[in-house]
Symmetry: C2
């Protein structure tokens, strides 16, 4: 049987709050089995850009990464946030190693082609983006990779890539080597049957049920693409995708963390 | 016989000039044998701090690293500069992996004790600082470590550490496993017999000759501590310390690079 691999993604909502972050790092450090952390940015990037007099440009709700902004996200994501997370995990006995996709050529991307919108230095992934062998070498060496959302094109250009997409691509690629679970931590306790009731977490959703839940309107708005991507990862070999609140990560191994999506 | 290990340190003078940097990366990527790059900061950190309205505090010519400055150097050294170097090396076929001392717990430091001056978040190294096993694991995995001058104390605190000191500590620790050469790239072609004549490079200095050269005034000023540290590293097991211009790094293997210090 393949060894277990947990790929846990956290977003800005956790990174921006030191108490919640501290709890999360404790939970993550205690998680048994091979594991990888993927982190987004948080407000520090936007704040640092503003402090440097660089304005964030948004087109249709999406951030444009011009050269100045690429420098900022590289500094903040791959520098400050990544190293603070690594140092915090090391302090808790987890042998973290911080990486961008350029490091060890672990994740290669291509700059998004310019159609109607020029997104700037944004990198898209393709099926061969992740070097699973390189990552497995690090894991076998006793290291716990911590990925920031910075990639490269292999020709010297760093690129800004969505952290959710990185987590999913890592999970799909590593499914060839490990029994891989993809875990998204977000601000809710899971997929809720009733959006007003935090205790209405749906414990498990199978691919066949997803369409029904969408049709009946239980799953709506921002949750639709999230779950669509989850079932796509499962179709590509990921064993399960879990989504829930970072504070409950300790319940992951007992299958009591948030909502679990399976084939 | 132990395998060869090159530890090459570059400073801000190379990082700040894109053409020279590009030439250096080409030379470093082509260097055969196991290798590690250690880099300082350059002017980008000072400029970024200034742009953020953070003033650099110097006491007796030494930079004080307060909390705000630690954030800046972590962003710039471990983020921007480190990842740009890694992406540049990857583009040249060198499988670089960017590290701070926190990554893989490779270099642990202790915050400098406060005596007359509080240097802030500056980390000093001690003989056990470098985890040579962790670094050897990465090297055996096919990776070329690229170290920024950021370390940690193992209790969650990042620290700013002198890049020359990191290079020397790495060389001493790795001498237990490899035939290690420590290479400092600086703005001169080597140790000059006549400071006015760039072609008066002294090709080789033995430990016994160092005192004479100091006494006769050939080695003076800033070169004295540099060479003192070099011979200290040699006394602690490093095979040789070379000092010369980055543009001539391609001459390293033919022993024609700058000045070579040996036992």
């Amino acid at each position: 049987m393949a060894a277990k691999m947990w790929i846990v993604k956290i977003g800005g909502n956790i990174i921006d709050h030191s108490e919640g972050l501290s709890r999360f790092l404790e939970h993550f450090a205690n998680l048994r089995g091979n594991k990888i952390l993927v982190h987004g940015g948080g407000k520090i990037a936007t704040r640092t850009a503003a402090d440097l007099g660089i304005e964030a440009v948004l087109v249709e709700g999406r951030r444009i990464t011009d050269e100045a902004m690429l420098r900022v996200v590289t500094m903040v994501y791959a520098g400050l946030t990544n190293k603070q997370l690594v140092a915090g995990l090391q302090a808790r006995g987890c042998n973290a190693i911080g990486l961008s996709g350029a490091d060890g050529n672990t994740i290669k991307a291509e700059r998004r082609p310019v159609k109607e919108i020029d997104y700037g230095f944004v990198g898209d992934l393709w099926p061969g983006s992740v070097d699973a062998d390189a990552i497995a070498t690090l894991v076998a060496g006793g290291f716990t990779p911590v990925f920031s959302a910075i990639t490269h094109d292999g020709r010297g250009q760093l690129l800004n890539t969505n952290a959710d997409t990185i987590a999913s691509a890592l999970a799909v690629a590593l499914s060839a080597k490990y029994d891989t679970s993809l875990v998204y931590c977000f601000e809710k306790r899971g997929v809720l049957r009733n959006i007003q009731d935090d205790n209405s977490v749906i414990p498990e959703i199978r691919a066949a049920e997803f369409e029904q839940l969408k049709m009946s309107g239980v799953i709506a708005d921002g949750m639709v693409p999230k779950l669509h991507n989850a079932f796509q990862a499962i179709a590509r070999g990921v064993s399960e995708v879990c989504i829930g609140h970072a504070d409950e990560l300790c319940l992951l191994r007992q299958q009591q963390f948030g909502t679990r999506m399976i084939r």
